[in-house]
């Protein structure tokens, strides 16, 4: 019983912005082992956003993800801190890809560990929705023309709705 209190009381969070492709399952596996919370977490809710090869009816060949270095990290930290104030969380992991991407590349990973599932479910969605609507990232797609030969670049103008 006393034993509960000998545990780390501080929560940890990791935010990564990366130009390199990442494997979400590998990241989750490593992070969960490394966080050293065995027996403490009863719930992990996570979300992975992956690049599709179609958007708004067009075939998408590639994408460039631009961001605002500095503000991105600052804003993501704010989102995660807001989530921690609202829910009882153990650990959080956010990874976002930038630079050149191809279809099927993971774009974003948001993962939350907590004792009970309500907190993990709600916080992971909250972080993801805030990231989508406010974190300074912009997508430019290379879209295949109707002749299937030419290609044009276009900035993505709107996100699909999350609620």
């Amino acid at each position: 019983m006393k034993w509960r209190f000998s545990r780390r009381l501080q929560v940890a969070s990791v935010i990564k912005i990366t130009e390199q492709p990442f494997d979400p399952w590998q990241e989750l596996s490593s992070f969960q082992i490394g966080m050293g919370r065995d027996g403490e977490f009863g719930a992990c809710a996570n979300f992975i956003g992956t690049m599709r090869d179609m958007n708004e009816g067009d075939v998408v060949n590639a994408m460039v993800l631009e961001h605002y270095p500095g503000m991105t990290e600052k804003h993501l930290e704010k989102i995660v801190n807001d989530a921690r104030k609202k829910w009882d969380l153990l650990e959080t992991l956010v990874i976002h890809r930038v630079g050149e991407l191809l279809p099927n590349d993971p774009i974003v990973l948001v993962a939350v560990w907590s004792a009970h599932r309500k907190d993990a479910f709600e916080a992971s969605r909250f972080i993801m929705e805030d990231l989508k609507s406010k974190a300074p990232f912009w997508k430019r797609e290379s879209v295949q023309g109707p002749d299937q030969q030419t290609e044009k670049n276009r900035w993505v103008k709107k996100n699909t709705s999350g609620y």
Binding site: G49, Y68, K74, V108, W138, W155, V156
Partner: protein, 86 residues
């Protein structure tokens, strides 16, 4: 551009991103703070005559700001379109 330390201290650093960066043909510039009190003033000056019709968001020192948020010399101001990450 090459500025002296003194010039930089009296300037506001302005960044542009994504489609707005392309539209304005500029990613970063230093402007004099003379006569600028709000981020809206900064936007007025840098977009003057550029006919920007898209929606533009503002930030000051990497935090979201409103048109009437105050700016001062040494600030980093950014203008960008609605975000589309995730």
């Amino acid at each position: 551009m090459t500025q002296t330390k003194a010039e930089k201290a009296m300037s506001i650093k302005v960044l542009y991103f994504a489609s707005l960066r392309e539209r304005l043909g500029c990613s970063e510039e230093l402007i004099s703070e003379d006569g600028l009190s709000t981020v809206g003033d900064v936007w007025q000056r840098v977009s003057d005559g550029k006919n920007v019709t898209q929606r533009v968001l503002y930030s000051i020192n990497q935090e979201y700001a409103q048109a009437d948020s105050l700016v001062k010399a040494g600030d980093e101001v950014a203008f960008f379109p609605p975000v589309t990450g995730g």
